[in-house]
Symmetry: C2
């Protein structure tokens, strides 16, 4: 019998790392995870895939050729400029594994840039956003010159703040960096900012992250990186060979086929976001921030209490109080869900103020 | 316009790394990838999952609680001693990310131990098997003392050789190592060797890799590690939070429910392996090696030519000539597939010898 101390045995960077805990709290209305409230794929098109489901004994296509072909056609790019991941999370891991650190990103932003950097033992620098949640361009440019980051991650629209970063500032960063800038466009479909895809031809040091997760297919865990074919080739060396399972490949292809449905859902979500923003603005003591994503960040006094009270009403938001003081994040749901959220929030505020 | 040399920008260990290429060669009879020839899950139990397929917009359970509960019940272990991966590949990556190198493994063996070590920038040592494809215990023990490997990977039954390593030798390694020994039991269900699961109680420095891939569910990419709860806790820090997608979780649970069907398939495969071994032994110029897995390694003069001729007959094997001289590996198929393979091999040998 040997008793190992696994904590001590782990690398130093792992010892101080905390597992990402995605709490699951029972609720009627789930507005915490920036999912779409709509599933874009009709059951019948899933259940017509007898060939797929009767050959579960076979490995998936390791290159996911059909899916890459479908994405390439949809976005008018080459399949060779696409790298698929088990969610964007895996691609972030692959990028850092391939190029190493230092990694630079603003804060607050998507947490996986920092977690992946630490897990992989690479240094990372987090530069606070300015008071308008935009990039603090002077600090960033200074840091680029000082630490020469191998990778810069810019999520635009940014999670959890919801805003797009100023294009001008992003361009300054791209121009200043001698290395790679990743634009994470997970929420781009909900944004009025056009996205950086058309710029790939002119800027070889940028690459773009996209995902199926926010537009109605979070269950299948499929994200992708678009970049220069030589960049994709290097990152592909660190990709696990069969990383996208057979069913995710098939369903993602269905997603592209059902693009019209997805786009109609996006329209509803944008419309609801506008309505919800208005409703929140009209509530006393509530300060919503403009959003280009499928969620709204808002401040409220005693965010912890409001968060808990809303759970009692069956409405689950994301409590961001420890990241942005007094802030909660609400994902845009169906009109019905949003109504219940607003009603519940009103009752909550009334009960607190009375 | 900036032109980056991405190859030069990649870390040194990545520059010399080759992407794992899983060639796809069209064939009628696919005996190259150690898949089961049988799918164990009836279509109707997939198509009854309307709830799952109508909520593809929702993220999977990040903890895969139901699946872990099902595995735990099946194997009489605790859910806390299980770590799930997007295939064993991902778990190997997580282990090396968590504990770092040096990594030690025999050679030839499953290639991902070496690939993952290199991709993650960790040193690894490959110690050749002896002439009977068993562990060269003296060299291994010497290396353990010298380089103090953080992780030792032992695949038993071993891929591509098919044999189990001597239990006595494995125990010597476990007793000598001050760190962690991973027993990869991907092929254990086909083996007469009992497996190391019952020893977990007494040996805290071992952990066991299992997978759904070889027993009929390669499409869903689900493997798991079983080990001391403290070990799992550390490795879990490097696991991507939503790494097992919702559909894989549901289908893996179905797999456990259909264990009787899986076991009946395993029986057929073991019986066919025995028959095929006899048939191959009777062929002049063919030297099969005894197997405890769902494949047989065999030597044949001019393996390259035999491999190519078999493809002309529509039968695809794995060409291992560059790894084990003159060797091909055939996965056990259905009785009909195996018959066609043997017929085609006979015709091939006749045509070469005439």
């Amino acid at each position: 019998m040997k008793d190992l101390n696994f904590y001590n045995l782990a690398r130093n960077n792992i010892q101080s790392l905390h597992a990402y805990i995605a709490k699951e709290i029972p609720c009627k209305i789930k507005l915490d995870a920036n999912e779409s409230p709509y599933c874009p794929i009709p059951l019948k098109s899933i259940f017509s895939k007898e060939d797929l489901f009767s050959t579960l004994n076979r490995y998936p296509d390791p290159e996911a050729k059909e899916l890459k072909k479908a994405i390439a056609k949809d976005l008018r790019i080459t399949p060779e400029s696409i790298l698929l991941g088990n969610g964007s999370d895996e691609i972030i891991n692959c990028l850092i594994t391939t190029f190493g650190g230092p990694v630079l990103h603003p804060i607050p932003t998507f947490v996986m840039y920092a977690i992946a950097s630490q897990a992989l033992g690479q240094s990372h620098m987090a530069i606070p956003l300015d008071s308008a949640f935009d990039l603090d361009i002077e600090s960033i440019l200074k840091s680029i010159k000082k630490i020469k980051p191998k990778l810069i991650f810019l999520s635009s629209p940014n999670n959890p703040t919801g805003n797009c970063f100023s294009s001008e500032k992003i361009f300054k960063i791209i121009d200043t960096s001698k290395n790679i800038v990743i634009i994470d466009e997970a929420y781009q479909p909900f944004s009025s900012q056009k996205g950086f895809l058309p710029l790939l031809k002119d800027y070889h040091n940028i690459a773009i992250l996209r995902t199926f997760s926010k537009i109605g297919l979070a269950a299948i865990r499929t994200g992708f990186l678009i970049g220069h074919e030589d960049l994709i080739k290097e990152v592909n060396k660190t990709r696990l060979p069969y990383n996208i399972n057979a069913i995710s490949q098939a369903i993602a292809i269905e997603g592209i086929k059902n693009k019209k449905i997805i786009n109609s859902h996006i329209k509803v979500i944008i419309k609801e976001r506008k309505r919800l923003y208005g409703e929140l603005s009209n509530l006393k003591g509530v300060q919503p921030f403009p959003s280009e994503a499928n969620f709204i960040l808002f401040k409220v006094s005693d965010a912890e209490l409001v968060y808990k009270k809303l759970i009692e009403y069956g409405v689950l938001l994301r409590n961001l109080n420890t990241i942005v003081k007094d802030a909660l994040r609400v994902t845009i749901g169906t009109p019905e869900e949003n109504n219940i959220f607003i009603q519940s929030l009103k009752l909550t505020l009334d009960s607190i103020n009375s």
